[in-house]
């Protein structure tokens, strides 16, 4: 869907041989591009760069996967990758969006998680099972009056077993303010120890 091509300015000098070494180098370059919305993270650390292929005639094809299907940052990422590779002498860059296998927050590297925390964003928890972690608002009136009537409500065991920690003070005593925040990939939480609100990169 998102395809961007830089004009061919000169005849390509890249060879089809030894593509592995070249592709690794190009992948390193493409992977070093910062995420447009979370510039502390590189695309490699975010885990959205899938592959770099050198095609004939100096053309390079990059496979990128979106975090969310509607993520508007994909177009900026594609443009940034094309620009960086172009600056390093690649005459023709095509960035293709691939959906399968679907990106998950488990694709964010350990280094990426550390940087997120330093940036003030609680990193996503590693998922044992796929899919979002069940979370809930406070008890409804019925539940507050007669807790046993809510026995069929989904348990919060996974949340208690692995709490979202405050990226500022490290406290595990945090609460959800809104499951949707400044971007599609984040939820808004508040620390009950230091009282600071913070974003949580929610599990996907």
């Amino acid at each position: 869907m998102v395809t961007r091509t830089t004009p061919i300015e000169e005849e390509a000098t890249l060879l089809g041989e030894e593509t592995t070494v070249l592709e690794e180098e190009l992948r390193r370059l493409a992977g070093s591009v910062p995420d447009p919305e979370l510039p502390v993270l590189s695309l490699e650390e975010l885990g959205v760069l899938r592959a770099v292929h050198v095609r004939g005639g100096g053309a390079v094809e990059v496979e990128l996967t979106p975090t969310y299907t509607g993520c508007p940052a994909v177009e900026a990422m594609s443009a940034d990758i094309a620009r960086v590779l172009h600056e390093h002498g690649v005459p023709q860059v095509t960035v293709q969006t691939v959906l399968s296998p679907a990106w998950t927050t488990d694709d964010i590297s350990d280094e990426g998680r550390r940087k997120l925390r330093e940036f003030g964003i609680a990193p996503p928890r590693t998922q044992r099972a796929t899919g979002p972690v069940p979370i809930s608002l406070g008890p409804t009136r019925t539940a507050a009056r007669a807790p046993d009537r809510m026995a069929d409500a989904p348990p919060d065991a996974s949340l208690e077993a692995d709490p979202v920690r405050c990226p500022h003070c490290g406290s595990a005593d945090t609460e959800l303010l809104s499951r949707f925040s400044s971007t599609a990939c984040k939820a808004l939480r508040r620390c009950l120890s230091c009282r600071e609100p913070f974003d949580h990169f929610k599990e996907l």
Binding site: M1, G70, P72, L99, A102, L137, T140, T142, R179, T183
Partner: protein, 239 residues
């Protein structure tokens, strides 16, 4: 325009996502609280992303979104219903997100052309369903006023829910199993929210049911006029 079964199916699913995305976008600037403003816009963005992939499978996404007439849209009548009060929006979200999650989970498990998108989108839609369920519980089991409004909304939209399970050519799922799962899931949430499962008909006379054939309800034309106005007034314009 002749369409294959595959692209007809992409149109049906893509139009559902596009139209609901636009409806949710109408809340921007007037949602009850800031957090909901952000939540509804985020859900709309997820749906728009799905719509772009699906419509691109059927043709040119911009032409399909902006230049088709009302009768050429294949979305369910449920998703074109106006936002109403917040309870109506939540009831529409509950009914549709439950349907979409079950449908996408089935498609993701298969190896058809929709599997890659469905595998990606089902994770997003699970958050939409969770959001709708939490609000259904909060409104249904809240004050007398919120209970009354949520009940009214669930009943008003009930007759649009039978249409969701009309088989779509090119979508290989067991529609009757899907409907059973949907009824179980929605009924469980309504009961927990102290709401009665509506008793009105979901198919047959006095129900909706021709969106997939291109017949739409009156509010849809006005929605399309707003959605397509800019593109039609300034053909080929760009930022």
């Amino acid at each position: 325009m002749t369409v294959t079964a595959g692209s007809a199916a992409a149109l049906a699913l893509g139009d559902d996502a596009l139209v609901l995305s636009h409806r949710l976008g109408e809340w921007a600037g007037k949602a009850p609280v800031l957090e909901e403003e952000v939540a509804l816009a985020n859900i709309a963005l997820d749906l728009l992303g799905q719509a772009r992939v699906l419509l691109s499978m059927a043709g040119d996404e911009d032409e399909l979104a902006y230049l088709r007439e009302e009768r050429a849209f294949r979305n369910l009548q449920l998703v074109e219903q106006p936002n109403g009060d917040f309870a109506h929006t939540i009831a529409r979200q509950l009914y549709f997100s439950t349907y979409q999650r079950l449908l996408y989970a089935e498609l993701a498990a298969g190896d058809g052309e929709f599997a890659p998108l469905a595998a990606k989108a089902v994770k997003e839609v699970t958050y939409h369903q969770d959001h709708a369920e939490q609000w259904t519980l909060r409104l249904g089991d809240g004050t007398a006023e919120s209970h009354q409004r949520m009940r009214r909304a669930c009943e008003a939209l009930w007759r649009y829910t039978g249409e969701m399970f009309q088989p779509v050519e090119g979508v290989d799922v067991n529609w009757s199993d899907l409907e059973t799962s949907w009824l179980e899931s929605v009924s469980a949430v309504l009961r927990r929210a102290t709401l009665d499962v509506p008793e009105g008909p979901r198919s047959g006379a006095w129900t909706a049911g021709a969106g997939r054939q291109g017949l739409h309800t009156e509010p849809f034309g006005r929605m399309l006029a707003e959605m397509q106005h800019l593109h039609r007034s300034h053909p080929g314009a760009s930022w």
